[in-house]
């Protein structure tokens, strides 16, 4: 049953895209004039030519099946001349010049369980990561967290309730493949790795693990006459970098790997410069299958932002205006000493001024 190759590999890189573009797209390529958001699920782009192109956006689980994908193809064939695209946040988009197709398309989508929305000042789909489903170093299941949180935010995806766009992400280890976001829900280990000396010598390139530690907390040692490693727990900053290099540096733990919540990550350059997200809650339990504690915190943050933000103010801009003290007050989160930076460039985050709100 061995397979005999007949095909000679073509290192073709990204798939060709021209064939994937709707004729109206090709005609107006680079010559769009403006867009208008018609409702949270539909926008129209108008070309210099006067052509109109309607986009309908809908949420997906991201961890899709071929069945699901074939159903989306059916809809694309039926309503959008056989074209579809995905957004960087795993939403599906149907682009069609046929205005009359919009309503039935939306109806079909909703019937098949795809929420239509995600456009404009609202909460769009969560960027999330592999988790227990596939990754080799996760402490949680990001898909599950994303599903639970989006269940709570279902209406926030479908209605314009927010001052501006809200991006969420969730990641299953501190590496944070989900990226920073207005609100990011990220695993935070709280205990230094325990070393599995039994497997270490067979699974680990020792010098590599030693080199990986950013604070030089890992030292070679001998355990039961075998070369092994030890961790200086005083120094260790529980970053988990060693675990990526060596599976014996067991940092994951059902209880000691918790969640942290971060806010104010912004990548766009609109108005303010892009900003990095800041820690606002830690030691949040990692509680499958519904992660209620995480959900609760996200809800409080969104509520406060929704009430307090001015139009076009992103999360970080809102906080910049009202101040962090009030952010903690209004979200009823607790400011803790550990939220004061202690890492390499810590000084840059100190309040080097007499500016103070009482």
């Amino acid at each position: 049953m061995t397979y005999e190759r007949t095909w000679q590999t073509i290192e073709s890189g990204p798939h060709e895209y021209k064939e994937a573009l709707h004729p109206v797209v090709l005609k107006n390529y680079g010559k769009w004039k403006y867009h208008e958001m018609l409702n949270p699920g539909v926008m129209v782009h108008v070309g210099e030519s006067g052509d109109e192109l309607f986009t309908v956006r809908a949420g997906t689980p991201r961890q899709d099946s071929v069945d699901l994908l074939r159903r989306l193809c059916d809809l694309a064939d039926k309503y959008a001349d056989g074209y579809l695209r995905f957004t960087v946040r795993n939403n599906v988009e149907f682009m069609t010049p046929h205005k009359e197709n919009i309503e039935p398309l939306i109806k079909d989508l909703e019937e098949q369980g795809f929420p239509v929305g995600g456009i404009g000042p609202l909460v769009t789909s969560i960027a999330h990561t592999q988790g227990w489903l596939h990754c080799d170093i996760p402490a949680t299941d990001a898909s599950g967290v994303a599903k639970s949180v989006m269940d709570s935010l279902y209406n926030d995806f479908k209605e314009w309730k927010m001052p501006n766009k809200v991006r969420l992400s969730t990641s299953c280890c501190s590496i944070n493949c989900g990226g920073q976001a207005d609100i990011a829900i990220v695993i935070k280990h709280t205990r230094p790795p325990r070393i599995n000396h039994d497997i270490l010598s067979t699974v680990c390139e020792l010098p590599k693990a030693v080199a990986r530690c950013p604070v030089a907390a890992i030292r070679p040692t001998t355990v039961n006459d075998k070369k092994s490693l030890m961790v200086d727990e005083e120094k260790c900053i529980v970053c988990g970098a060693c675990f990526g290099a060596c599976p014996a540096m067991e940092i994951n733990h059902p209880e000691y790997s918790k969640f942290a919540v971060w806010v104010g990550g912004k990548n766009s350059n609109a108005r303010s410069k892009p900003s990095k997200m800041s820690l606002v809650a830690d030691e949040v339990p990692n509680n499958p299958p519904r992660w209620e504690e995480v959900n609760d915190i996200v809800g409080r943050i969104l509520k406060a932002y929704q009430v307090g933000g001015k139009p076009w103010e992103r999360m970080n801009e809102w906080i910049g205006r009202i101040g962090w003290k009030r952010f903690f007050e209004e979200t009823e989160l607790e400011f803790k000493i550990d939220m004061i930076d202690s890492y390499r460039h810590a000084r840059a985050s100190f309040n080097q001024s007499a500016h103070v709100r009482f």
Binding site: M1, E16, K33, R62, S65, Y83, Q180, A241, G265
Partner: protein
């Protein structure tokens, strides 16, 4: 059903009362209590709620296509939910000539879930802008279901189509069929990575360059480096058509290519008037004028006046008034370098390295690619193991980097000149 291997039901904590079992000719269990899948009570909780559920999707497909691997994976996942622990470990599966592109996963609890023994992922490069036609996608589905599990993630956070769940044995055949259909593998390991580009000129009026074309050409140029990773660490490009940065390039890529313009914002005076009439003067003041980061917009005799010399191309006013305002006509890209996530150094945002570069003609794009190659080469020579290029630049110093790759120092690279006298000039 030749890809069903001999297997047993995973032993799990869930008590199984009075089961009915159906098996195929090889003794392979097909249905238990009328279902192909074993019980997954915790996962099933994720079938509740209005948001589309990946659990429901997987279960539905598995019940149809009856791939034991899917059952094993569901069993292992349920076990993870119960024990709050992960059970995959890595390995190295590749296809001929390639050193990367397949994320290899073996179960660490194969005794419990033998059907989940292998669960490798193909990272497949998307079409730029994530544009597809249904023919492409249906073909992909067919090949994938033939050889793999049928589970697909659209898309991975780096932009790959992730075909999740194949055995080592099937990898080459599956790849060959995919490749024949125009697909190629993406990056993994210490090499150039898969990229993504925003929807760009295909649909967006803000696109200051052809993100799709530049994505395709640049990634084609590095195709060998993607497939055979031999760098210090990973390196990612991302392409956003304007500084709204809809692909998060500044944070998520080592080399962020972001559209911008050099001349004045284009103003359609009639549309400005129409906007003010419709939305009101307060709205103009509160949401546009006062929100410009450099106070480059002022109100003069009831008209909105832009001081383009102080405009920093932030996009805000254009975003608010897309019908009335547009980026200028002399368009190109800014290149920012050094973005990456948290590991070891804390999140790094990319820094402005090239304020303006034209990428319209083939030649200009070619020049850009040459520059990128030179930059990667510099990193090859100067970087340390597991050091992203942003870290290398920080360690060696921006000056060293600029001089070595032959770029001109520019005040736009910094928010302010240095605040310490600690440097040495030629003497």
């Amino acid at each position: 059903m030749d890809n069903i291997q001999e297997s047993v039901v995973a032993s799990r904590e869930v008590p199984a009362e009075s089961e009915t079992i159906e098996a195929d000719v090889n003794g392979q269990v097909i249905k238990k209590n009328g279902k192909f899948l074993n019980e997954t009570p915790m996962l099933d909780e994720l079938e509740n709620g209005p948001w589309p559920s990946f659990v429901t999707g997987l279960k539905e497909m598995a019940e149809r296509n009856k791939k034991p691997m899917l059952r094993g994976v569901m069993d292992q996942l349920e076990y993870s939910y119960q024990t709050k622990s992960g059970y995959w470990k890595g390995g190295l599966v590749t296809v001929k000539g390639y050193g990367a592109g397949i994320i290899t996963r073996y179960s660490m609890i194969k005794d419990k879930v033998p059907e989940a023994l292998e669960f490798h992922t193909f990272r497949v490069q998307p079409a730029p802008g994530f544009h597809y036609n249904t023919k492409m996608l249906r073909g992909l589905c067919d090949i994938w279901e033939k050889h793999g599990s049928g589970l697909i993630a659209l898309h991975g956070q780096s932009g790959d189509i992730m075909l999740q769940g194949i055995t080592a044995e099937k990898a080459q055949e599956c790849f060959d069929e995919l490749n024949e259909a125009g697909w190629d593998l993406g990056g993994a390991g210490a090499g150039i990575r898969t990229s993504m580009s925003c929807v760009g000129p295909a649909r967006c009026e803000q696109a200051c360059y052809d993100t799709l074309q530049v994505h395709k050409k640049v990634l084609d140029a590095f195709v060998g480096a993607i497939h055979r990773p031999e760098r210090n660490y990973k390196l990612k490009f991302k392409f956003s058509g304007c500084s709204n940065d809809c692909v998060n390039a500044i944070m998520r890529s080592d080399i962020a290519v972001i559209g911008t313009w050099k001349d004045d914002i284009q103003v359609d005076k009639e549309e400005v008037k129409a906007w003010i009439e419709k939305k009101g003067m307060d709205n103009l003041v509160n949401n546009v004028i006062t929100r410009c980061p450099t106070n480059a917009i002022s109100l003069e005799d009831g008209e909105m006046v832009i001081d383009n010399r102080n405009c920093v191309r932030c996009m805000h006013c254009i975003n608010v008034m897309p019908k009335a305002l547009s980026p200028g006509k002399e368009r190109g890209v800014s290149v920012l370098m050094g973005g990456k996530n948290t590991l070891k150094v804390g999140t790094m945002l990319g820094s402005m390295i090239i304020p303006f570069y034209k990428v319209d003609t083939d030649e200009e794009i070619e020049n850009f690619i040459e520059l990128a190659e030179e930059i990667v080469e510099w990193w090859d020579d100067n970087g340390l193991d597991h050091e992203r290029i942003g870290e290398t630049i920080e360690r060696c110093g921006m000056k060293q980097f600029l001089e070595d790759v032959g770029l001109e120092a520019n005040i736009d690279m910094i928010s302010a000149p240095r605040d310490n006298p600690y440097y040495k000039t030629e003497y």
